[in-house]
């Protein structure tokens, strides 16, 4: 019943001489929440960044292996990288709103895709702001700068902005780490709704968060995938020694 959305095969990442990701094999299920868990520096963020090739920004990055999205290898295919990135929304550790007003932040993705009609833009912006439960808070000040919002609101704005590009996948890198508990909860709840329509990959080091929202867990340590599987199996019946130690809180 589960189809695979992202298939990682023999994936290796080097930054110069550093071997960051070692022979990663994984199948990320479609329309589920997959959580990448692991201690700091284990390569979980790097793995996420491989998926939309933000690793290209690193001067000495070398990526080998395969990342198949719906069967298309994004590392070797001739498809334009901007189109690949459009398929994936990214939510960073802290929100990075664009230097423009609230409305234009959400409309940005639509505009660069060539949608310019005012009425259409208004309609879509309202739709996506409602989708992230931000509409009621900002509808009277759509033309205020995005920085005027609180951090939690900014993070939801960034989610709306990402969704407006109409992606199939949402990549989130510790999306709640800069937020207060209420805002974090709002984001988590949103993810639970969004998985109906999107494939979601979240990086976190918070075990309880993983337990709450994950369908599938990938546990990493020192650049390797130690264990992966459905959430219940992972937490209740871990097979690897390292996983057991991690779940007991023996290292972070």
């Amino acid at each position: 019943m589960n189809s695979t959305k992202i298939h990682l095969s023999k994936l290796d990442l080097h930054y110069g001489k550093q071997h960051i990701l070692k022979n990663i094999e994984s199948e990320i299920p479609e329309k589920k929440i997959t959580v990448i868990l692991g201690p700091s520096g284990c390569g979980k963020t790097s793995l996420l960044r491989c998926m939309n090739r933000l690793t290209d920004l690193h001067p000495d990055a070398h990526l080998s292996g395969k990342i198949l999205i719906d069967g298309t290898d994004i590392l070797s295919s001739n498809e334009d990288i901007t189109n690949i990135r459009k398929m994936m929304g990214l939510l960073a550790q802290r929100p990075y709103p664009l230097p423009m007003n609230i409305f234009n932040n959400v409309a940005y993705g639509l505009r660069i895709s060539g949608r310019k009609k005012k009425k259409y833009l208004h309609h879509r912006v309202e739709h996506y702001l409602k989708l992230v439960n931000l509409w009621d808070e900002v509808k009277d000040r759509l033309h205020d700068p995005a920085v005027a919002l609180s951090i939690g609101q900014q993070q939801r704005l960034c989610l709306a902005r990402g969704l407006a590009v109409d992606p199939q996948i949402i990549l989130a890198d510790e999306p709640t780490s800069a937020l207060d508990p209420q805002s974090s909860q709002a984001i988590e709840e949103k993810f639970m709704e969004l998985k109906e329509a999107y494939t979601i990959v979240i990086v976190t080091h918070i075990l309880r968060q993983a337990k709450r929202i994950a369908d599938y867990v990938i546990f990493m340590y020192m650049g390797e995938v130690i264990e992966q599987g459905p959430v219940n199996e992972f937490f209740e019946n871990p097979k690897q020694e390292k996983t057991k130690e991690y779940l007991k809180g023996m290292f972070y």
Binding site: L57, K86, L90, Y108
Partner: protein, 284 residues
């Protein structure tokens, strides 16, 4: 504990004295310029060209130099902006994954910045002779453009450097091309810095003597085409201050006052505009 208090006090006094010293220098410059120039700054001075020759003629004012300076500075600042902006954006957006290459470009620009303007003047002069062009407004604008270009690019670069990587990544993730990111995100985020870069370059262009000495020439007339020589305020000061005739020297002091007023105006304008365009800027 007591030693620390004395140390603290010592540095406080030192800082206070240094600040006072800087303020005093500024005040003295302004005072001496204004005292010698302000009495001669009349409507006639700024609204008429010198008559009877700039070195000996007693009549007329410095309009030729005011207009010449504005033409020259506006022209070269505009040229430097349109050629410099793509370079600065490219260094920070398109070449973001090649920091070593970008740093070598920065080194080259810093070297160019460090070259004295007389060298630019000599370079421009050599090229002019080679091409058979006479001293003219156009030759001056091109030479001054070369002179302010590294200043313009590095000033814009310093502003663009402050844009956090996360913003670039966020914009890339939305499927933007690098050019879209350049003009829609980075430029917008850095408008205050861009304004500073433009006005800094304008100030340098308006105040420089050496680069225009050979290339722009000097004249009593207001240039009506790019092929004609033009006068500038700094050169007016340079030539006329050494004149044996009192009235001519007065024009030099008036020119100094006008130059100071232009530079002060530019500085204040920078502040005002930067603040105005600060609204949408993301503070990280």
């Amino acid at each position: 504990m007591k030693a620390k208090k004395i140390e603290e006090k010592f540095f406080r006094v030192l800082m206070f004295l240094s600040t006072m010293f800087i303020c005093m220098v500024l005040f003295l410059i302004l005072f001496s310029i204004l005292r010698s120039g302000l009495p001669y700054l009349s409507w006639e001075m700024i609204s008429s060209v010198p008559s009877g020759g700039y070195y000996f003629g007693k009549e007329g004012g410095i309009l030729n130099a005011i207009i010449g300076t504005l033409y020259l500075s506006l022209g070269s600042t505009l040229l430097a902006f349109v050629t410099g902006l793509p370079v600065a954006l490219m260094m920070n957006v398109h070449l973001a994954s090649m920091p070593r290459f970008v740093n070598s470009i920065r080194l080259i620009l810093d070297l160019l910045w460090g070259i004295p303007s007389i060298v630019y003047g000599a370079f421009g002069f050599t090229i002019m002779i080679y091409l058979g062009i006479r001293a003219s407004l156009l030759a001056g604008i091109i030479t001054v453009t070369l002179f302010v270009l590294p200043i313009m690019i590095r000033a814009m670069d310093e502003a663009l450097k402050t844009v956090p990587k996360g913003l670039l990544e966020a914009a890339l993730s939305l499927g933007s091309t690098r050019s879209e990111i350049s003009y829609r995100v980075f430029f917008k985020q850095c408008i205050p810095g861009m304004i500073t870069a433009v006005l800094l370059s304008f100030g340098r262009a308006a105040g420089d003597v050496a680069s225009v000495l050979f290339t722009t020439g000097f004249t009593d007339h207001i240039p009506t085409s790019l092929n004609q020589p033009a006068a500038t305020l700094p050169l007016t000061i340079f030539f006329q201050l050494s004149s044996p005739i009192e009235e001519v020297r007065q024009r030099a002091f008036a020119a100094a006052v006008v130059l100071v007023i232009i530079i002060l105006f530019i500085s204040i304008l920078t502040r005002v505009l930067s603040r105005k365009y600060h609204k949408n800027r993301i503070n990280f």
